[in-house]
Symmetry: C2
Subunit: 425 residues, 2 copies
Amino acid sequence: MSETTIVASGVREELERIGAQARGAANRMRSLSTSVKNAALLRAAAGFRDSKETLRSANAKDLAAGQEKGLSSALLDRLELTDKRVEEMAKGLEAVAALPDPVGNVESQYVHPNGMRIAQLRQPIGVIGIIYESRPNVTADAASLCLKSGNTCILRGGSEAIHSNLAIAGILIENAMAAGIPEYAVQIIKTTDRAAVGELLKLDKYVDVIVPRGGKGLIARIYEESRIPVVAHLDGNCHTYVDKHADLAMAQRVCLNAKLQRPATCNAMETLLVHGDVAEAFLPVMVTALQLANCEVRGCDRTCRIIACTPATDEDWFTEYLDRILAVKVVDSPEEAIAHINHYGSHHSDAIITESYTTAERFLEEVDSAAVFVNASTRFTDGYEFGLGAEIGISTSKLHCRGPMALRELTTLKYVIRGAGQVRE
Amino acid sequence: MSETTIVASGVREELERIGAQARGAANRMRSLSTSVKNAALLRAAAGFRDSKETLRSANAKDLAAGQEKGLSSALLDRLELTDKRVEEMAKGLEAVAALPDPVGNVESQYVHPNGMRIAQLRQPIGVIGIIYESRPNVTADAASLCLKSGNTCILRGGSEAIHSNLAIAGILIENAMAAGIPEYAVQIIKTTDRAAVGELLKLDKYVDVIVPRGGKGLIARIYEESRIPVVAHLDGNCHTYVDKHADLAMAQRVCLNAKLQRPATCNAMETLLVHGDVAEAFLPVMVTALQLANCEVRGCDRTCRIIACTPATDEDWFTEYLDRILAVKVVDSPEEAIAHINHYGSHHSDAIITESYTTAERFLEEVDSAAVFVNASTRFTDGYEFGLGAEIGISTSKLHCRGPMALRELTTLKYVIRGAGQVRE
């Protein structure tokens, strides 16, 4: 037996143990009161503020290792836990404590003709597996949302942040337990062995859902390997369609925001569709503004006849650049825009700019995406902006939840039936 | 290349074509009005009534083939399409037409501080794949629920009912299209080649969810093979716990109903748990009644000391008999009963019989099942009994939906944001 096999089998046993512990704790978490959960979050927030030195020294190890490995300065920056970021993490926990607890909410009620009262109540899902990449604050964010929604979680962060993640989880767990949260309600995988992810994805006996946060490569691997249902967003190929009835000044303002306010986010615009009737009036001004902001433009044939730009290929219409690049296509009708979005898009966030009531309504109805906008920037797709408080991710799946996944989306429903001896005829 | 490979590749192309057609039709189905959908259902119901002869002759081919293959009389009975069953199928479509249409319902609304109106609307999921076994009426039931909820469906029935299924689907499609439903909104797989199921389960590009209806073998194979999310119930290992504070006459009535009213259903009781304080008063009378109804009892050690019965093994606590067999265990507390149910059960439907308010509430809270009952028979877990109208299945999954899957559960949510030029700061 090779050494790798031995290691993997040790990892398997460790993950099996973590899974069983999480399931056991889930049974106790289900009936925990909101006060206990909130007290735990507030205590953990205070714990972070009191442990800045511990966190800094754990983080220093990761930063040193990262420098040695030659991580880019962007990645090193994402990895760094400054005092300001620790304070933000503490404030994040306090914000989650302030959110309403969805557990126990009655979603529907029905009285059976035989007198039984039948209600649907919100319940924790149970055990959530979270697999994420470098930013260490995700450890606290994800754990706090699971805790508040009465779920137990198994956290698996990126190896480059392992010391920071373990320190954050340690402080959170210690303070949460002191406030009455059961042991194993929050667990973090301590090994950086890559086999641990594979083993976690096999624990369908214990884990109810996997929520990955990270790049497309990670998400695709998880969808491929997981025996457990996955809720994740795979792609954010978002569009804005500037209709012939658009207010062109508004269109320019909204498009610049959608493309450039944070180009690396999943809700940034990747393709601009413009109606042929306004293309000549709109594109030259728009593209000048984009180019001034160092944004590359790749256009269809008609676009290239109006402005100077790189010709786009079919591949461009499918691409999520996550960068200062924009694909531009001229279309002849709202129908063509809608068909393009439904075919090439990733069903994440898409917008129309128009003053036409009928065209706006049609776009809202026919575009098959998690979020569809009229006269607003796609950048708004976000749990906080949508009034849900913090979010654990954005789902482009159509099952379970679509769009921002927040506290309510971390719950499931349970039928509760109160009878007086009724039997079925 | 072997002949099987050639057949399979023909099947693959056929399924690919069916998938692409379903996705195309889904874009048109999304905005279909309720009136058109209802008219289609009513017209199809009339179509069934007018086609009794066609249906009988198609069904006769299946029955003849079934007899030749030596199907059991129970299976042949399930396969038979009597005039009464055709009438029930027609009435089923009319009942679905009478149900409220969930599409377009506003589930939540929020006004952003910047003035954007953010709503969550119910939308069809898109393309539903339904894989089912012998009963041909499922063809009409499943297609009608998909149609009413604005979804397109791909039906794959059992080979033993192929002629009946094709005839039913043909009548439904012809009448639905005459009423304005787009082509390919309802499709049925015409080949009985087993490879077709495998190919359908790979069409994650086109199919949003697989809903299987059938035995455990089928469901397990689908969970194993599918690249598409599956919503299904795998097991119905249901419990009734008779507490020490139970009204024992009520307990006997409810238990007999839960076990015997239809033993082969997923919501029938499989294990009876009895509190030690009432076991001697309750079990002898209860077991006599069960044995009078030809129900075998398998008991734990303590049960076997009270009544004459087969000793149960650990395997029995995990087993869904779907038959006139009941496992019986004596427990010492509600906690022990709850722990047993959460460990051995399948999280489908579980009941407590008690007059104790505190014990009842605790049971409702701590038992982690799709439906939890106080003083009523587990047999009530059913879309119709729960006030949802018809159901396409019962989900024991915790994601997307839990319990009966009806029209609402065949939809997803879409965020619709109406702005006036807002951009993100």
